[in-house]
């Protein structure tokens, strides 16, 4: 199907977001070298920016996203404040979770990213709940849930797909097939090599897309989201992409063929789109430089903010369990 034309300012927006995300995560790679700077495991989506950006760009502000352990891109694309994200990643009190979460379950209610879970496969059932609320309250909203190729093997994902289709929930399932689940390839954890085909088993549309082509993702997302919003029920997008880094930043990818990484490096969604917009005349070299500079500055500002922030007081660990503290 031919793509619907995308206005130039949207194209620039798509690129700018991918650039910001890439810079943000490259900074994290950098900070990982600084002993003690980042607690926990750092899990990056370098190479997958087009999925986050393309899907989120097709959503309305009232729509909901549900994310997983590899969330930076989803959240930044959604407009989360990089300061508060970086601060949380560093475990600081000014972080989105006031330090309670750390990097693995960054949720940002301010931008309707209400539930992020690092339990693989946990997003879809909760997303079904959010989509149910949208349907129940007739908000016209849609929920998009991101999960990985590995997550597709969890029973919870099956239960959510069945329920969503049965109840015709406005729920977009976004399977980011990044060719790895930990150190396992899809051929080692998934009985079908075409996860989008699962759609049929639940009587919902299932479509695979080149997840490294932001316009393809955006275009398909728009159509699928329109389907969800129209009351026809959920849809499944399988975005074929690649995890350029290890599973986490301590993973040296010893189990990955160098040639595979090289192959995908050539398909870098950011470089590809930059080139496309340049050669299409949608953006000039000068504009591009400015865009890069702005991204870098934004990320540096976020790091400065986070570094300046304090750690939460130890005993503040006791708060936030309950909404009504008198019941605690």
């Amino acid at each position: 199907m031919a793509l619907q034309p995308i206005p130039a300012d949207m194209q620039q927006h798509l690129l700018a977001q991918m650039v910001l995300i890439r810079r943000f995560e490259e900074k994290i790679i950098n900070l990982c070298q600084k002993e003690g700077c980042l607690p926990g495991m750092q899990i990056l989506a370098v190479g997958q920016e087009a999925v986050a950006v393309g899907i989120v760009a097709a959503l309305e502000p009232n729509d909901i996203i549900v994310s997983n352990h590899r969330s930076h891109g989803h959240l930044l694309a959604r407009g989360a404040n990089p300061d508060a994200l970086m601060a949380e990643i560093m475990g600081k009190v000014s972080g989105v979770g006031h330090g309670k979460a750390g990097t693995l379950h960054l949720s940002v209610p301010e931008v309707n990213a209400l539930m992020t879970s690092t339990v693989v496969g946990a997003g879809p059932p909760m997303a079904a709940g959010a989509a149910f609320a949208q349907q129940y309250c007739a908000t016209g909203g849609v929920t998009a849930v991101f999960f990985g190729d590995g997550a597709a093997a969890e029973g919870s994902v099956h239960e959510a797909m069945n329920l969503a289709s049965l109840w015709k929930l406005p729920l977009l399932f976004v399977c980011e097939n990044n060719c790895w689940a930990g150190a396992q390839k899809p051929s080692q954890h998934c009985s079908t090599q075409d996860i989008s085909k699962r759609g049929e088993a639940y009587d919902m549309p299932g479509v695979r897309v080149d997840g490294n082509d932001v316009e393809q993702v955006y275009d398909l997302a728009r159509r699928m989201i329109a389907h969800c919003r129209s009351g026809q029920g959920p849809a499944l997008i399988e975005a074929k992409t690649y995890r350029m880094r290890g599973h986490g930043e301590k993973d040296r990818q010893h189990y990955v063929d160098k040639s595979e990484i090289e192959y995908w490096a050539k398909l870098c969604p950011v470089a590809r789109y930059r080139q496309k917009l340049l050669s299409g005349g949608v953006i000039s070299e000068t504009q591009l430089l400015k865009m890069e500079r702005q991204a870098i500055e934004r990320v540096e500002a976020a790091v400065a903010f986070a570094e300046k922030s304090a750690y939460p007081p130890p005993e503040s660990a006791l708060s936030d369990v309950w909404t009504a503290p008198e019941n605690a």
Binding site: G97, T116, P125, M126, G129, F132, A133, T323, A324, N327
Partner: protein, 327 residues
């Protein structure tokens, strides 16, 4: 005040909550159309009253049912979902423990998850260990989840209303064996505060703590001792999390003895916590060994005499009280 069964009291609470608040909906396996046609079932007749938009029969998918509650609650709804039998809570436990109980904390207090999970419990209906297995200790051990367990129609209604309108996740255990038990139930909306125990009887020699159906075993056991001149404080916990520690401790400090009764397995059961609290915080007042009357550390057997053996009896309660007193 009307006389009604516990099942009807629960039904009344659900009806009131749904009438009063559009955000309340029900979901679960057979909460709408049920194989039971019994007005003593908590969800009886609700589909007819509120329609399929608000009374949602679900697939047999416990993780999705719990996930539905998590996701709908953070969006501002007040889901009331049902897990049919207690052992199936295992299948929902990731959603409840790792999500319902933690996501508010992970959000730094920004999000709330005002959901209610109704779980049917019960030992003694011959269904065996995959239907009968009380796991309240699991829930009680998991931060972020409240846990209530009524023993009377009156408390059932008031606790369920409190649970539904509580801003946080509440698990409500319903002893199926009590669905048909009758009692006085006030009209209208009233709430039993979560976290308040009920002093059922007063005495001087021993504190006996129970909840749910086990309360009646405890009562019988205490009654049997009247002839021996033994009197007891009897506490019906009602709320297991948060626990009414003040009530527990003031009674134990008074009587100097503690007997806990529950139908769950003894080892690492909820009773252990009560014993530990008393041994920690009321030690100087204790006059005798703390006693737990609980099920042996076995699955619930199917055969009637074995199942009977499994369940704590009034005799074992009486014996435990004597042991607590004699040391």
């Amino acid at each position: 005040m009307a006389e009604m069964s516990m099942g009807q009291a629960l039904n009344t609470a659900l009806t009131l909550a749904m009438q009063g608040d559009d955000r309340v909906f029900l979901a679960g396996e057979g909460v709408g159309v049920s194989i039971h046609q019994d007005p003593n079932m908590p969800t009886h007749g609700l589909l007819e009253k509120f329609g399929p938009q608000r009374i949602k029969d679900t697939p047999v998918s416990e993780a999705a049912i719990a996930g539905l509650a998590v996701g709908a609650s953070v969006m501002g709804l007040r889901p009331v979902v049902e897990i049919m039998f207690f052992p199936f809570i295992t299948l929902a436990s990731d959603m409840l423990v790792n999500h319902a109980g933690k996501l508010r904390y992970l959000s730094g207090g920004k999000s709330s998850f005002p959901l209610t999970v109704r779980v049917k419990a019960g030992i003694g209906f011959g269904a065996g260990c995959q239907h009968s297995h009380n796991l309240e200790a699991w829930i009680a051990h998991s931060p972020g989840l409240k846990l209530v367990w009524p023993s009377t129609p009156h408390d059932a209604k008031g606790l369920l209303l409190s649970a539904i309108f509580d801003p946080d996740p509440v698990i409500m255990v319903e002893d199926m064996m009590l669905y048909w038990m009758k009692g006085e139930v006030p009209e209208g909306d009233y709430r039993i505060p979560i976290g308040q125990a009920r002093l059922v009887a007063e005495g001087t020699d021993c504190t006996v703590v129970a909840y749910g159906a086990a309360l009646y075993t405890a009562l019988k056991g205490v009654k049997a001792l009247a002839a021996e001149g033994i009197t007891c404080d009897i506490i019906d916990l009602r709320s297991l999390v948060p626990l009414d520690k003040a009530c527990l401790l003031s009674s134990v400090r008074k009587t100097g003895r503690l007997v806990v009764v529950h139908e769950a397995n003894r080892f690492c059961g909820y009773g252990a916590e009560l014993a530990a609290i008393a041994a920690e915080e009321a030690f100087r007042d204790l006059k005798g060994p703390i006693q737990r009357v609980a099920a042996p550390q076995i699955p619930v057997p199917g055969s009637p005499p074995q199942e009977q053996f499994y369940k704590p009896s009034a005799e074992s309660v009486a014996a435990a009280i004597r042991a607590a007193i004699r040391g």
